[in-house]
Structures are given as C-alpha cells and as structure tokens.
Amino acid sequence: MTLIDLANPSKFLSLTARVLPWLAAVTAIVLAIGLYQSATAPDDYQQGATVKIMFVHVPNAWLSMLVWGVMSLAALGTLVWRHPLADVAAKAAAPIGAAFTFLALVTGSLWGRPMWGTYWEWDARLTSVLILFLMYLGLIALWRAVEDPSRAARAAAVLTLVGAINLPIIKFSVDWWNTLHQPASVMRLGGPTLDRAFLVPLLMMAAAFSLLFVTLLLAAMRNEILRRRLRSLQMMQARAFSSEVDAGSREKTVPFGAA
C-alpha cells in the first residue's frame, strides 16, 4: 500500500475500514496495561500519590504538541504537495488536539493545586500551553466559519505552519524562563533522569495515548470524507430539483474524490 494509493479517498475508506478495529483493540490493550502499571506504581517520596497524575498529564501534554506537529505536516501536504487527504487530516486532527491540550491544562492545574498551592499561575509554560489551546480553538473556529472546505484548508494550512513557532516556545519555555514548572526529565539530551518505576508506566501511557490519537484521527478522517461527499451530493441535489430555465442550471457538481 503506497502513499499514492492512499491519496484516493475511496481506497483510504476501504483500507481504514479494515485496519480500524485492530487498531482500536491494540489501543485498548496497551491502555489497560498502562493503567494497571500506573495504579501499581509506588508513591513518590516527595510528591506522594499525586505523582499518579503524571501518568495522564505528561502524555496529554506531549500529545498536545505532537498533534500540532502532525497538523503542520498535513499543512505542508496541502500547500506543497497538494495531497488530497492532507486537509482532511488537518481538519480531523484539530478537535482531537484541542481535547488533549485541554486535558493537559486541567490535569496540570489539578496537580498544581497540591504541589504549588494554586490551580493557575501565569508561568511561561502554562501560558504557552494555554495559547496553544487558544490556537487550536481558533483553527476549529476557522474550519467552522468557512463552508468551502478547500478555501478553509489553505488558510488553515498557512496558519498552522505559522503557529508551529509556538511548539519550540512551549518545549523550551522552562529552560528559557525560570519557572515553577518541572524542566524536562524524559525528553532531554543525555537521557531520562526519571526513576524506572515511573518511567515505564509513563511511557506505556504515552504509547496508549498515541495509539488512541491515531485511532481517533483515522475515524474522524473517515467522517470528514463522508461529510464532503454528502456536501457535494447535496449541492447536486439542489441543482437537480431546480428548474432548467436559466443557463446557470447547466453547471454540474464535482463530487469530492470522485474516482
């Protein structure tokens, strides 16, 4: 199955129809293992049991950035390679990314209350994640505000690429500004400094959430393809029922992804 084949929405639909159930099953299994490991992980000598929040907070935080990265790739696909599935992927990924970002924010605040004594602090990392969330919302608003998908796709692609500038800011904010938030202890030069007892469940949860993302993304992309098919069919229907008095009625509709 090459990339060229995937460019055809119909082929994509049939392929994902076969792959999705397996993917969902694997996700569920990995998630179950991850949850079991995090439940049995020892308490931290400093943070006590609250360290368990890490197992959901950190994967969500990572994914919030990863999803934007995926969307940036898709944006390149739209603008440079004009890949027909690229904007479908970008549009489908945005709400999922927003959800992960939201979870990173909320679990972070829930962890912050016992650790720092406050839910919210205008710290560089926290604020930059909040901005990431706002940018996700802005993108979703943009997708919703423009009904012609190809027009919205190109605008969203430009914006996604420009917004990718925020990713390094989030990643390095803790290094650039001295702040409350933990500096990187897993994804850093020189290897992780985290104890194995925490590292293993964390990585397992991270894998589970990544798989979850891929599964949800594929399912949402299927929906998006169907939605575009529906839109073009509805436009055809509007035309078919209209009278034929004017020259304008000879226009035909070009269905999305007609093979």
Binding site: A49, T50, R222
Partner: protein, 59 residues
C-alpha cells in the same frame, strides 16, 4: 490502595481524562452514524455519485 490527602485531585484528573476521551469517541461515532444515515437517505432519493456508485457505498 491509599492515595493520601489528595485523593480527590487524582480521582478527578483520571475521571476527567476518561470523560473527555469518551466524549471524543462518542462524538465521532454519532457523527459517523448521522453521516451514514443522511447519505443513505440521499441514496434513496436517487442521487448518485458521478462515478455511478451509490452514495452510501463506502468503498
């Protein structure tokens, strides 16, 4: 398993993650169903894709 003085925070964060993930899954599933339904209705009203295949045909 005892979770110490901050049980509510830990439980809340896990519950929230579960809830949001479930909402995502359910939203996508509902969206899929309604799209399929509307495509099928269009199909019954005789509108077909230009390639001649049925609208509800997903392949």
């Amino acid at each position: 398993m005892s979770l110490g003085p901050y049980t509510s925070f830990i439980v809340a964060s896990y519950a929230l993650v579960t809830a949001v993930v479930l909402i995502l899954i359910i939203a996508i599933a509902i969206d899929y169903r309604s799209l399929r339904q509307r495509l099928r209705e269009l199909d019954q009203s005789g509108i077909t894709r230009r390639s001649g295949r049925s609208a509800a045909d997903l392949r």
